[in-house]
């Protein structure tokens, strides 16, 4: 019943047929269909002309109904506890689906609380509370969707997929960093901490991504002023690797007497380590090194695409956030990453229609770490030789 003036402008035509199509598409579950039908009517109430922007389930929530239902089942227990006080403006209580819908809409659209409230017929504070409850629940219940490969079979799968991309053998992941930009008050003396090298206030998100664009390791919450390698060096992943407790799996024999360990790859913003391979620096590189860099760069695209999709899908973290709570923001980022992974795990068909942009940090220049470990250099040279086909048999 809320004023949906903004959406009326976006109207085109033919709402009804699409609505029916979407309803019948998931008709195997009676209850949810009813919820969607009612929900759909509610958010489109008072609108004469149909809306092309909000006529499909996927267009509102950016996920399929199947994934939506799965997410509902994940958070059901938490969201339904004491939910009676969440009510629509007309006094009706919010169902589980309503709550998940509100939260997903908030995270995926990045619209303001008021806009979402108007769309759903809710007070904006209810939108905030419901979303936060969802975030709290998801970070607990959905964390198993974001884990380092735990079984050997899983890791073997990751490695073989990486090798299929550009031939990197025994590669376990791609590391990359993106920034969630914020607008912070200049008067706050702590704001300068968040001022990054591009003069934006930002929070760093470090991700290690697998070839399916799934996040396998996330570190976030650090202020933008921290350089990429500092964030990496303060991560648990780094510690585990240093202690030999991660990337300590099977070695691969490239040729007789030459074997390489497990490793990840990253850009020049990271140090060259025995388990982290970065590109060669410099201009006049040999052919093998240049070839190595080309393949390296092409393989790293999975991480760039994953981060670009993360921001594109969950627009609450896209663009400049207005004075966010810096203790809550990392948790919101984590939940967006979890949702990103859930879509992949559910093999949601919405992925197919997503663009494959890899521009996730526009305006940010490549950082150069510049430190190199001798064992890392050896590993990189071996890989370069191997990838250029010059490794002796």
């Amino acid at each position: 019943m809320g004023p949906i003036r903004g959406f009326r402008k976006r109207k085109k035509t033919e709402k009804k047929p699409e609505e029916n199509a979407s309803g019948s598409g998931s008709s195997e579950k009676e209850g949810p269909v009813d919820w969607w039908d009612e929900f759909f009517k509610r958010i489109n109430a008072g609108i004469q002309s149909p809306s092309s922007g909000l006529d499909k389930f996927e267009s509102i929530f950016k996920i399929s109904r199947k994934t939506f239902d799965y997410i509902c089942s994940l958070v059901k227990e938490d969201m339904m506890a004491k939910s009676a006080h969440f009510v629509f403006s007309n006094g009706k209580p919010l169902s589980l689906c309503d709550q998940v819908a509100v939260a997903l809409r908030r995270l995926s659209s990045g619209d303001s609380l008021v806009t979402i409230g108007d769309l759903f017929g809710l007070n904006h504070s209810t939108v905030s509370q419901v979303t936060w409850r969802f975030v709290e629940s998801m970070e607990e219940r959905g964390l198993h969707h974001l884990q380092w490969p735990s079984t050997e079979a899983e890791m073997t799968d990751v490695k073989s997929k990486f090798e299929r991309i550009r031939g990197f053998p025994n590669c376990c992941g791609v590391i990359d960093t993106t920034h969630i930009t914020m607008c912070l008050p200049a008067s706050d003396p702590t704001s300068h901490l968040w001022l990054d090298h591009e003069k934006n206030h930002s929070m760093v998100v470090q991700a290690i991504v697998d070839p399916d664009m799934k996040f396998r390791d996330i570190v976030t919450g650090w202020p933008g002023k921290m350089k990429d390698w500092l964030v990496f060096q303060s991560s648990t992943f780094y510690k585990l690797c240093d202690q030999g407790e991660r990337l300590n799996g099977k070695k691969v024999e490239l040729s007789k007497g030459t074997e390489i360990r497990e490793y990840i790859i990253g850009d020049s913003g990271y140090p060259l380590l025995p388990y982290l391979v970065i590109p060669y620096e410099g201009k006049d590189l040999s052919d093998s090194k240049a070839e190595f860099n080309r393949r390296h760069s092409a393989t790293r695209v999975v991480a760039q695409r994953a981060l670009a999709r993360l921001k594109d899908m969950w627009r609450i973290i896209q663009g400049v956030m207005w004075r966010p709570d810096k203790h809550r923001l990392p948790r919101i980022i984590l939940v967006c990453c979890l949702l990103h992974n859930i879509i992949i795990d559910m093999e949601d068909e919405v992925q197919d229609s997503m663009s494959l942009s890899h521009n996730h940090d526009s305006g940010y220049h490549q950082q150069i770490c510049g430190t190199a470990d001798i064992n890392g250099a050896n590993l990189r040279d071996k890989l370069a030789l191997y990838l250029s086909g010059r490794m002796p048999p």
Binding site: Q129, W132, T190, T220, L240, R323, D325, L334
Partner: protein, 367 residues
């Protein structure tokens, strides 16, 4: 200029008027000013460089004390003496609410050069198992280590330089290791090794961040970030995870208050004021205690322990005394400062206290 005293209540002495104004019984009860002044001398006030107006010093303390004592049994009196002595070492005990209002200045709540003391709670086999024994580990002045017989631990010594560290292992574990990175070159370095935990952090700006690290068992943690130019130091903030949720907020009262205090101290640290308030760590974790070098180390260590002591003392006081406080103050009441000064009976004081609390509390942001 206690102008809030109603005119109709004249005729009695100022103490009675003040008491009646604050809602306490007046006149001929069993307690009087002399009783308190003789039993509970407050030595530190005379040493203090910040002198408190005598009239202001009288009021709040006396009222509070009389209230406390009125409610406690005689056996608690010696306990009270200890507590008040310890507290007066740590804080200005003056009821400075009104004077500070009038002068427009806020008198610092902490002593500028507090003594080092560690209050530990231990269970005795004797009757009062909950009694906390004040155990002073590191002061040339503090003496007490008795199991059952609490001894007043007043100290008249306000010169921190005279304090000698006798137990290097505990608080002074990382005494003044002057950091090799003192002249920070362009090599960025981040220190996470906690064995090197006690570092030179003077001049570093301090911030709290919530970090998500999915490879860590505790994937959500709160960290302290110290930064000076390109030098970063990170400290864990164990056991003090900021509570957001409704569920988690329960039973974490002290944590909230400590966090609040930490923020205030961070500002002081940043401005490099070199007094006793400077180096403080809001965590009770010993390893998190941050030290400064030179002769101030003991002083700093002392302040490090203030939070610990503050919490312990306030806990103990809370157990033993029933204060007439509003539920809100109880919820926030991890601080001994609130306990001592926070018995306002008039609306002005209540609102002032509430404001102070509100300033420190975290603003609930939009999701």
């Amino acid at each position: 200029m206690l102008c809030s005293v109603p005119a109709g209540k004249s005729g009695s002495n100022w103490l009675d008027r003040l008491r009646s104004n604050k809602g306490f019984p007046t006149g001929d009860d069993d307690l009087d000013l002399d009783h308190f002044l003789t039993q509970n001398p407050s030595p530190s006030s005379s040493d203090s460089p910040h002198s408190i107006p005598p009239d202001a010093q009288g009021g709040g303390v006396l009222i509070n004390r009389s209230e406390i004592s009125r409610r406690t049994a005689a056996q608690d009196k010696e306990w009270y003496g200890i507590m008040s002595n310890v507290l007066s070492e740590l804080f200005y005990m003056g009821g400075s609410d009104e004077s500070s209002k009038l002068s427009g200045k806020k008198i610092p709540r902490k002593q500028t050069k507090p003594k080092l003391c560690v209050v530990s709670t231990r269970n005795n086999n004797s009757s009062n198992s909950n009694t906390s024994v004040i155990e002073v580990k590191k002061s040339s002045v503090f003496v007490q280590k008795g199991e059952n017989a609490p001894v007043a631990t007043a100290s008249l010594n306000s010169d921190s330089n005279s304090l000698v560290e006798t137990k290097a292992g505990n608080v002074g574990g990382g005494v003044v290791d002057v950091d090799g990175n003192e002249d920070e070159d362009e090599e960025e370095e981040e220190e996470e090794e906690e064995e090197k935990g006690e570092r030179e952090l003077k001049g570093y700006s301090r911030s709290e961040v919530t970090v998500i690290d999915t490879s860590c068992g505790l994937w959500k943690s709160e960290k302290l970030v110290f930064r000076r130019k390109n030098a970063w130091k990170v400290r864990e903030k164990k056991g003090k995870l900021r509570s957001f949720g409704r569920k988690k907020r329960k039973g974490n009262d002290n944590g909230v208050v400590v966090v609040v205090g930490g923020k205030k101290k961070a500002k002081v640290l940043a401005s490099e004021e070199d007094n006793g308030d400077q180096c403080t760590t809001p965590s009770s974790n010993e390893r998190n205690n941050l030290k400064n070098d030179s002769g101030e180390e003991v002083c700093k260590a002392a302040t490090n322990n203030l939070d610990t002591a503050k919490e312990e003392v306030s806990k103990d006081l809370r157990k033993r005394f029933i204060f007439s406080r509003s539920p809100r103050k109880i919820r926030k009441g991890g601080s001994a400062v609130v306990l001592i000064k926070g018995i306002p009976a008039d609306k002005k004081n209540i609102s002032k206290l509430s404001n102070n609390i509100a300033k420190g509390t975290y603003r609930q942001p939009k999701v």
